[in-house]
Amino acid sequence: MSPILAVFRREFRSHLNTVPAYLFAAFFLSVSAAWLFLARGFFVRGEASLRSYFEVLPALLAVLLPALTMRSWAEERRTGTYELLATLPVRPGELVAAKHLAVLGVVGSVLVLSLSVPLSVLRFGAFDVGVLVTEYIGTLALASACAALGQWVSARSRTPAGAYLGTSALLLALSAIHRLPAVLGLSGIAARGLVWLSPASHFESFVRGVLDSRDLAYFAILTAGFLYLAAKALVREAWR
């Protein structure tokens, strides 16, 4: 068994033994469903589309996902178990990758549970399954980038609460950055740059059912970049 798999199993089990994972699942499932059926009036609009269900996910993940990532390193440091983990023969990059996969495991499990929403409305209209699959791929890609950012913030935070607030603030800012050009009256390269930077604008393509490799690459680069920064933060902490 590779060290990554061993650490992933421990981390995933740890998520299942702690409250934040259940809070994440409960709020994610209930708020997203309430948004679709109550706030957006799914049945009133009479559209065979779950676009409004997925449109709220960037903001929802920005608030909920940090609850999963905040403990990654800040909690290990607080309880002293980081000393145990960091003196095992595992590279920092492997530890970071394993923790990331564990968070994705929890998110993936919750997304499987969330399938109950589309499955419950399928009989009310002719839904495009391809679009639905694309929307779920996009959600996982978005969650991966958010989780990587969360782990980086946790690696640089002293406390889990600090990690939560820092991650949430950054994710909310990133989610809203594509609206800045309209608010500030910007145009041209600056406006396009801000729109390109925002995860929400890339997620939008998935929500429309468009599986664009550039959007996938964007989320992959964001994920790899923040995981790299998290590993670097751990190494820097040991060598500073």
């Binding site: 068994m1 060290p3 798999l5 061993a6 650490v7 199993r9 421990r10 089990r13 740890s14 033994n17 702690t18 309880t79 002293g80 178990t81 980081y82 000393e83 145990l84 960091a86 003196t87 095992l88 023969p89 595992v90 590279r91 040991a238 060598w239």
Partner: protein, 316 residues
């Protein structure tokens, strides 16, 4: 097995370790002594791969800590001072996790878990969640974790801190046993522990190596490093005082004290490294003066006094 050369480590502007060098050969127990803040834990954390050396060289089993931190960790079992454990995991799950990370799997994993737990005296704790373990049991589980994978070097940071007297005795027996087939480097500020366990000690003070050697000989370098105590039978105190003027080696510390009818106790201090010769001279002197030598005992400078002198602390 352990090679440290001109090791330095700073936390911001505070220099915790200021150019420390020492070696520890294969097999045996080496003690790292020093008051709080002397740099003991920092050095142990560097040797365990938790911290990187600021400058200087650290090698364990021939592996450079800066070049191959992962290789170094494979050769080191480390017990931090607080034996940190995940509260929701049992001792067995901790050991199985450590085994998996070290690449031990299948039947070998079960065997390694059982052997490490038994060797550390933690077998009874295997099914218990860490949050329910007492300090003593946590320490044993931590020791079992350090033993996982049978590393040739064990680094133990204050291994008996917070244990009750029985647990301390058991832990010391275990460390003695472990030191037979691997190198054990332990830190402690309990001097009796260092004397009881370590054939060699290094004394640290404010990030510097202040002394090194066998615990019973480390005070030899001091002025008046050894003392002799002799009980002689002399006709009277005046004869004894007169005869003392002819004693060639050893300087009397104060006046003789009466020890019984016609018997007097003398305390003599010796120049560094001359205790054996001084003992011989006292024996010859007593014979030449016609005194009976009832007792001659060599008394080393107590470890507490050595520690206090080297670290600049008041022994009281």
């Amino acid at each position: 097995m352990i090679e440290v050369r001109d090791l330095r480590k700073s936390y911001g502007s505070f220099e915790a370790v200021r150019g420390v060098s020492f070696d520890a050969g294969p097999g045996g127990i080496v003690g790292l002594l020093g008051p709080n803040g002397a740099g003991k834990s920092t050095i142990l954390r560097i040797l365990a791969g938790f911290l990187g050396p600021g400058s200087g060289t650290v090698r364990v089993a021939g592996i450079d800590a800066a070049e191959d931190p992962r290789g170094l960790k494979r050769n080191v079992g480390y017990l931090p001072e607080t034996a940190p454990l995940y509260p929701d995991m049992t001792a067995e799950e901790h050991l199985a996790f450590a085994a998996e990370v070290r690449g031990i799997r299948g039947a070998a994993k079960s065997r390694a878990v059982r052997e490490a737990a038994e060797r550390a005296g933690a077998a009874e704790a295997l099914p218990i969640a860490a949050e329910r373990l007492s300090r003593g049991w946590r320490q044993r589980v931590g020791l079992a974790l350090a033993l996982m994978g049978d590393p040739p070097v064990l680094i133990l940071d204050e291994p008996t801190a917070g244990l009750d007297p029985n647990q301390i005795r058991q832990t010391r027996d275990l460390i003695r046993d472990l030191g037979r087939d691997r190198t054990v480097l332990l830190s402690t500020h309990i001097l009796a522990e260092a004397e009881a366990l370590c054939p060699e000690v290094f004394i640290l003070n404010r990030g510097l190596l202040a002394g090194r050697g066998r615990p019973d000989r480390i005070g030899d370098a001091f002025e008046g490093g050894d003392r002799l105590e002799a009980v002689v039978k002399a006709p009277g105190i005046r004869d004894l005082m007169r005869a003392l003027l002819g004693l060639k080696s050893g300087v009397p510390e104060g006046d003789p004290t009466a020890e019984g009818p016609g018997a007097w106790r003398l305390r003599l201090s010796c120049a560094p490294g001359t205790a054996d010769a001084a003992a011989e001279a006292v024996s010859d002197w007593a014979a030449s003066e016609g005194f009976k030598l009832l007792e001659l005992r060599r008394e080393r400078v107590p470890m507490e006094e050595v520690f206090a002198r080297l670290t600049g602390e008041d022994p009281a």
